[in-house]
Amino acid sequence: MEKYPKIPCAAPDALLAEGYRLWEAAGLPPPGPDEGDAAADAALAMYDGPHREAFAAVCRCYRLFRALHMRAEAFPEAATLLGDYFFGVFSCYMVLFDSPPLIRAFAGCLARDATAAAAGDADGPREDAMEFISIAREALPA
């Protein structure tokens, strides 16, 4: 029996599946092992509360969005647009959560990481790529 009732994720789940198809069609190198799956797994490991799977999806999409945008110099068209797409899917899951603390947590992470990445060199995000998960987890009920 489910521990908590699920929030309906059919629409963003379909968008997420579409995102992977668009990724393949764009001809980009596929997601790395430390990207989407790893973020979702880490989120599930950290959080056992309500809407757990939606939280994993939020983290997956956020990680994919950021990873793609870090590749924009190498693949300006595909990585920029696909990253924006995954941000859109991330947003769709986020509104289902309807959690102002979670919104603030992610907005803060994104503002900091984007600022640091804009000024940084080409070696990837300036902070630990998964740090956002623990920050976001803090925003959810214990």
Binding site: A11, L15, E18, L22, A25, A26, R66, H69, A72, E73, P76, E77, A78, T80, L81, L82, G83, D84, Y85, F87, G88, V89, S91, C92, M94, V95, D98, P100, I103, R104, F106, A107, G108, L110, A111, R112, D113, A114, T115, A117, A118, A119, A122
Partner: protein, 341 residues
């Protein structure tokens, strides 16, 4: 109505005092847009790196039509409120931030040197900085989501955001592909890229204003038809860019995007030339000249007029008032511009 940047320059509702016809509404709109500008510039100034502050301040501060916030504001007042009206300025900011991000990121995709008459972020600071600057603005847009929980606005804007990107990705994939780019595909694309967002802006304004679901749907329909007209006209003007703005016509054709005038022209030579990659300037000029000779621009302009009529018809059931009239005036101005084109 051609702006300095050589793009469709709609008369801003804030500047059409006579068209609005109501001093209180006009003052309200001007005040709301001024507050929005102030917040946008504050956000740009809050970026944690000097270069990003400069880049964002330059792009956002260069102006722009502020069409989405204007539509949202007018829609908020376009019918009787049935429920509580929420603050408008966070929504207006969110819409303009989303639009700014799409412009900054589009410039990366298109490797564009200028935006709104000033250097694009990617031209001044590189693709990486441009993408990340846009992401900073996304973070700031997210902060506004709290204001509209439970209204349906956040869900709608999130869905529109994903759809816009999906449309762009599909378009990138079928560039130069004449078989894929049918008229139906074109309409689906301009819905994804333009009309959906304008429709959502209108609908969001209505929801924030506490209007009924029916009124919100009507205003969403207005935004959809207005958005179609707006994009088609923009595409028509691309064929006249040389004499109107002093820049080469046919940029869409060069990029392998077949807009409505090219699709309507029915000229065999054009059909043969369109899919060719790396067209010479002469070939593009030839296509533009042929499209113009067949009357395709006029036929596309007729579609603009048709969609403007549809937009105005969508408003008909709403209560008569200054905001409704101002929206109709915007649609009429677009149709007039199409007749002049």
């Amino acid at each position: 109505m051609i702006g300095a940047a050589g793009k469709l320059d709609m008369p801003r509702a804030a500047d059409i005092r006579e068209g609005i016809g109501d001093e209180a509404l006009y003052r309200g709109l001007r005040t709301a847009l001024a507050a929005t500008e102030k917040e946008l510039l504050r956000i740009c100034g809050a970026a944690g790196a000097e270069r990003m502050r400069g880049d964002l301040g330059r792009i956002v501060g260069a102006g722009g039509k502020r069409l989405r916030p204007t539509l949202a504001y007018l829609c908020r007042r376009a019918d009787a409120a049935r429920g509580e009206a929420l603050r408008a300025v966070p929504l207006l900011c969110m819409l303009e931030l989303m639009h700014s991000v799409s412009l900054i990121h589009d410039d990366v995709v298109d490797d564009a040197a200028k935006r709104r008459g000033v250097a694009s972020v990617n031209a001044s600071s590189g693709a990486r900085a441009a993408v990340q600057s846009g992401d900073f603005l996304l973070a700031k847009a997210m902060e506004k989501l709290e204001c509209y929980r439970g209204t349906g606005v956040n869900e709608m804007l999130a869905a529109v955001s994903a759809e816009m990107c999906r449309g762009e990705l599909l378009q990138q994939r079928v560039r130069h592909d004449a078989d894929a780019q049918s008229e139906a595909f074109y309409y689906a694309q301009i819905r994804s890229k333009t009309a959906n967002f304008l429709s959502a802006s209108c609908r969001a304004g209505a929801l924030v204003g506490g209007l009924s679901e029916e009124a919100a749907n009507r205003l969403g329909l207005f935004g959809d038809r207005f958005g179609l007209a707006f994009q088609i006209l923009d595409d028509v003007l691309d064929f006249k860019a040389e004499e109107a703005f002093g820049r080469p016509s046919g940029q869409d054709i060069r990029n392998g995007v077949f807009t409505l005038p090219a699709l309507l022209c029915g000229d065999d030579a054009v059909r043969h030339l369109l899919p060719k990659r790396n067209k010479t300037r002469r070939e593009i000029r030839s296509i533009v000249a042929r499209v113009r000779r067949t009357g395709a621009l006029e036929r596309a302009a007729d579609r603009v007029a048709l969609h403007c009529e549809e937009a105005c018809a969508a408003l008909a059931p709403l209560r008569d008032g200054p905001a409704k009239r101002a929206l109709a005036r915007l649609a009429e101005a677009l149709a007039e511009r199409a007749r002049e084109a």
